[in-house]
């Protein structure tokens, strides 16, 4: 027989709990007797009387817990002592309180207590507080998607440097969309999993490309958003490059798509250097046509739709896939000959009302290419083409209604269609409006049934004013809104619905060219 004793200084447990611990100790195999008890004089006397006064216990103070074991071997004795120590340290059941009973977490730390294995934080609080929350999340080892805007570029740089020093994603600020492991974050679409990896510094650009990839039957490995400023000199492309490297290394990614407005030259050079290190094909869309470096695996895409098609071709090896027509998954191809043009000769102007910033940008680029001049916009390609708000313009306008000036005190136009419905009506009443161009962005977070808002006003303005309404629907049939249903309803209202934004722009521009020639 082996006896062992331990004194735990200054720890109080009530006698019932100590008895339960003693019982558990005694129930272990090879233990002939065991006790855990407060070392009060009375208790020590009991131990003495019952022959459990193991050596050493007698030196304990009344405020100590003493543990004694009589066991067959030394090993068993020390195991049982350890067991008792553990039970006493936990206050027997401390921390076992059910998490459901926890009060609602008010901080990241208390959320982590409820979900200790959390690995990503999605932050959308007011900008002036957002960077702090992001830093806290990163310091706890969590990836961050920062949806909030109004974060200073210095803070963004600092956050991204800190994140990368810890091997973490820091998507944003102002990152509206990402798909991680197939899970849609913020304004994202339900997209099939697959082998095309995307890194995008353009929110709706990511939505457009990922949806088109899905609609052509392919899928996404990861779709990282970086926030629109990542390619700027001040950020230095930190997250674009880190995500690019991730996709290069990622075994699930066969084809890489990089989407950004033209980044800072140094950033661009580094990106090319990185692409040069991999054999994986990389589709690069910079929103404008550009001269690619002489790298075999770089595939320049002039626009978002082209990027999606190129990626799908590379992923499937099917070179017959084309941009706007013959995809197998509900792609649409409006017959231009069937479009009814406005009868009134004055109706020759374009009015494009976008909810997606990148889509509005792309529309302006295409406009510039086709029309050889700039469109007017609240977010123009050329500063001198800026118009403020909805001021009357006798020119073609391409507006981003998701820009700050339109969202003050109002929900984003992807969620709330009231502003667009009103602007569609107002612009249609003007005698020179010929074509109205709209994006309808589906997916999580967006309006649950945009066709219900749009169809009535579309059929009204077509009937009353004879304008042409062209819609591009960004989404998939897996989205909560169901792309096919939305398209069917819009078509029924008389709208021309296209398979991509680029296609919608092409059609819109060619119609106004036709109208102006005649």
């Amino acid at each position: 027989m082996h006896t062992e004793s331990v004194i735990i200084k200054g720890k109080y447990l009530d006698s019932v709990k100590l008895m339960l611990i003693s019982k558990e100790m005694r129930s272990q195999t090879g233990v002939s007797d065991a006790v855990a008890i407060m070392a009060t004089p009375e208790n020590l006397a009991i131990l003495q009387a019952t022959g459990m006064m193991v050596n050493g216990i007698d030196t304990a103070d009344p405020a100590d817990i003493c543990i004694g074991v009589v066991a067959e071997t030394e090993d068993i004795a020390s195991q049982v002592i350890d067991l008792a120590r553990d039970r006493i340290a936990k206050g027997f059941a401390s921390g076992a309180e059910s998490s459901a009973a926890e009060s609602k977490p008010r901080t990241i730390d208390s959320a982590l207590r409820i979900m200790p294995r959390a690995n990503l934080t999605l932050i959308s609080v007011a900008g002036k507080y957002a960077a702090r929350e992001a830093r806290k999340a990163l310091s706890r080892g969590l990836h961050v998607m920062l949806f909030s805007d109004n974060v200073s570029i210095e803070a963004e740089r600092e956050l991204k440097e800190y994140a990368l020093s810890r091997g973490l994603l820091m998507m944003g600020a102002d990152c509206g969309t990402a798909i991680i492991n197939g899970i849609p974050l913020a304004f994202a679409n339900q997209v099939r999993c697959g082998n095309i990896g995307i890194v995008s510094a353009a929110g709706t650009g990511l939505q457009e490309v990922s949806c088109l990839i899905h609609n052509k039957g392919c899928g996404i490995s990861q779709a990282f958003g970086t926030g629109g400023r990542d390619g700027k000199k001040q950020i230095g492309g930190l997250m674009l490059m880190a995500c690019l490297q991730y996709l290069i290394d990622d075994a699930d990614t066969k084809v890489i798509v990089l989407i950004s407005k033209v980044p800072d030259q140094e950033v661009m050079d580094q990106i090319w250097s990185m692409i040069a290190t991999t054999a994986k094909p990389a589709v690069v869309a910079l929103m404008v046509p550009f001269a690619p470096p002489p790298l075999k695996n770089v595939h320049p895409a002039p626009n978002l739709a082209a990027a999606a098609v190129l990626a799908c071709r590379l992923a499937t090896g099917d070179q017959t896939l084309i941009g706007n027509g013959k995809g197998q998954n509900g792609d649409i191809y409006p017959n231009r000959k069937l479009i009814t043009l406005p009868r009134e000769p004055k109706r020759v102007r374009l009015c494009a009302l976008y909810s997606g910033g990148t889509l509005s940008y792309e529309a302006q680029v295409i406009y510039h290419q086709k029309m050889d001049r700039y469109a007017y916009s609240n977010a123009p390609l050329e500063p001198s083409y800026r118009i403020d708000g909805l001021t009357e313009s006798m020119e073609d306008v391409i507006l981003d209604l998701g820009a700050d000036e339109f969202t003050v005190g109002r929900l984003h136009p992807m969620i709330d269609y009231a502003l667009r419905v009103k602007v569609i009506e107002d612009f249609s009443k003007r005698e020179d409006t010929g074509v109205i161009l709209l994006d309808v962005v589906l997916g999580f977070g967006s309006h649950p049934a945009p066709q219900e808002e749009l169809a009535p006003v579309i059929s009204k303005v077509i009937t009353e004013h004879g304008v042409v309404v062209i819609c591009t629907v960004v989404g998939t049939d897996e989205d909560p809104q169901n792309r096919s249903q939305v398209i069917a309803a819009l078509k029924a209202s008389g709208a021309v619905v296209t398979g991509s934004n680029a296609e919608a722009c092409e059609i819109a521009m060619s119609i106004i060219q036709t109208l102006r020639r005649s």
């Binding site: 206050g91 002036k128 702090r132 050079d269």
Partner: protein, 478 residues
């Protein structure tokens, strides 16, 4: 093409976990989306920080590691405090710096002019008790004359409930933190009703104080010293499991103390009737133990004074005018705000109109993790917080949100013996916009009347904001 720049090798992201689990802070719809695709998500009920001094907040953020380290040290010290009751003595003999013209009071420093009614009343009573004046008018005159020195108990290793008046002739309990060899002192509890600590100064109040000095004190002192010492930590741990939170409910603590004392009082007695009266007095005063739980807390917390950079609160104290806070990391600086009027249950005939703003050093118990922080331990007084045991549990749970840790020693039965919330971290107070929750008695605003109710009070945010700025100042100076 010439590739000028090599890719930067350090820019890498760790392989993503297979299962994404998300903490959502902000728009609720994003969490709804995640739930709809069966992704685990926890929503943070986010509030903007309670401060407009975002600069100070940024300083604390930048020094997070330094502060965390300092706090760890503070927590280690607080966790290992071991308060023992050694006996009693007359204040002038034991409290360092005590002298005949010094009057100690509760809370942060306050001048006679700014003192509330009940504190003025208590000072008048103390002057009469000390024999420095014969009439109330004389006492009032003396108090305002500038001949007497007023100072916080806190700055003299002492604590006092309510007005917290300590003068040179008053007997005080001597509590020693055995681990760190520091001392704390507190007067004997007078009971309820018309008592000095609530600002009453009638003849019967002074008479009771004299009896406490002449009979209670020597009897208790002999008994305690005959025992060697009494382990207050142990009694408090037990009391928390017997329905006390050792601030507003001290029935179990007083009973436990009584059991320790009774045989010792008998053995050391000189006069049967006196001894019987002493036992009756303790038995008749459920709050007797409060004046021991307070110096116990004080001795535990004081051991952590002067740990630079720590954001842990070591002092919360009120003087009926101001609510004061001190941090381990900001030395002797007081950060104060207006003392709030407690939310209370009033004795018949009284209402909030009559209430004095919050007063007393007894919030030292909350600072040590008891009192309001442990109200889930005290089902008998949940009527102060809404009447249901679940309300009390909610209050206690919310206090974990502003604390650096949980006690390893003091536990709450109704929370499955979870340790009490311990170590108020001002960063978390600001972050959560949630201030400590304090159990309290309510004094009448006029001197001489006494207690009119009991209830709870939420500490004002102002002193915590100032403390944050103060801590940020010390950090940015380096």
């Amino acid at each position: 093409m010439e590739l000028k720049n090599k890719p930067v090798g350090t820019l890498s992201i760790n392989a993503l976990d297979k299962d994404i689990q998300v903490i959502n802070i902000g728009l609720k719809s994003f969490a709804d989306t995640l739930r709809s695709v069966k992704t685990p998500v926890v929503e943070v009920d986010w509030q903007p920080p309670a401060t407009t001094d975002l600069k100070a907040l940024a300083v604390l953020d930048r020094h997070q590691d330094t502060i965390d380290k300092a706090n760890e040290k503070v927590m280690q010290i607080i966790q290992s405090g071991k308060p023992l009751l050694l006996g009693l003595d007359i204040a002038r003999n034991v409290i360092p710096g005590m002298h005949n013209d010094l009057i100690l009071h509760a809370g942060p420093p306050v001048t006679w002019e700014r003192m509330c009614g009940s504190m003025r009343g208590a000072i008048i009573g103390a002057i009469l008790y000390e024999g420095k004046a014969q009439t109330i008018e004389e006492a009032q005159h003396l108090a305002g004359s500038g001949d007497l020195e007023f100072a916080p108990c806190y700055e003299y290793d002492s604590v006092g409930p309510m007005a917290g008046i300590v003068t040179a002739s008053m007997p005080v309990f001597i509590v020693r933190n055995q681990t760190y060899d520091n001392y704390a002192y507190c007067t004997q509890n007078e009971g309820l009703g018309k008592v000095l600590r609530y600002g009453a100064y009638q003849p019967e109040v002074i008479e009771r104080l004299r009896w406490m000095e002449q009979i209670l004190y020597p009897c208790l002192d002999r008994a305690i010293r005959s025992l060697g010492s009494i382990d207050l930590g142990n009694l408090i741990a037990q009391a928390l499991q017997m329905g006390d939170e050792v601030h507003n409910r001290n029935r179990a603590g007083t009973s436990l103390l009584f059991r320790h004392l009774a045989p010792a009082l008998i053995r050391t007695m000189k006069d049967t009737e006196d001894t019987a009266k002493v036992l009756e007095f303790i038995n008749g005063n459920d709050h007797f133990f409060l004046n021991l739980s307070m110096p116990a807390a004080k001795s535990i917390l004081d051991a952590a004074k002067g740990i630079d950079h720590s954001s842990i609160v070591l002092t919360m104290a009120r003087n009926g005018t101001d609510f004061g806070v001190r941090l381990a990391g900001t030395g002797d600086a007081w950060f104060t705000g207006k003392a709030p009027i407690p939310d209370a249950l009033y004795f018949p005939g009284y209402s909030k109109e009559d209430a004095n703003p919050d007063i007393g050093d007894s919030s030292i118990t909350e600072t040590a993790g008891w009192g309001g922080f442990a109200i889930a331990s005290a089902p008998a007084i949940v009527q102060f917080v809404g009447g249901k045991a679940s309300d009390a549990m909610r209050y206690t749970r919310s206090m974990y949100e502003i604390c650096a840790g949980e006690s390893r020693y003091y536990q709450i039965p109704s929370l499955d013996f979870r340790g009490t919330p311990l170590g108020i971290d001002i960063r978390k107070v600001i972050e959560n916009d949630l201030t400590p929750f304090i159990d309290t008695g309510v004094a009448h605003k006029d001197p001489g009347i006494g207690q009119i109710g009991a209830g709870v009070v939420q500490a004002p945010i102002e002193p915590f904001n100032l403390a944050m700025t103060g801590l940020a100042d010390t950090l940015s100076k380096e």
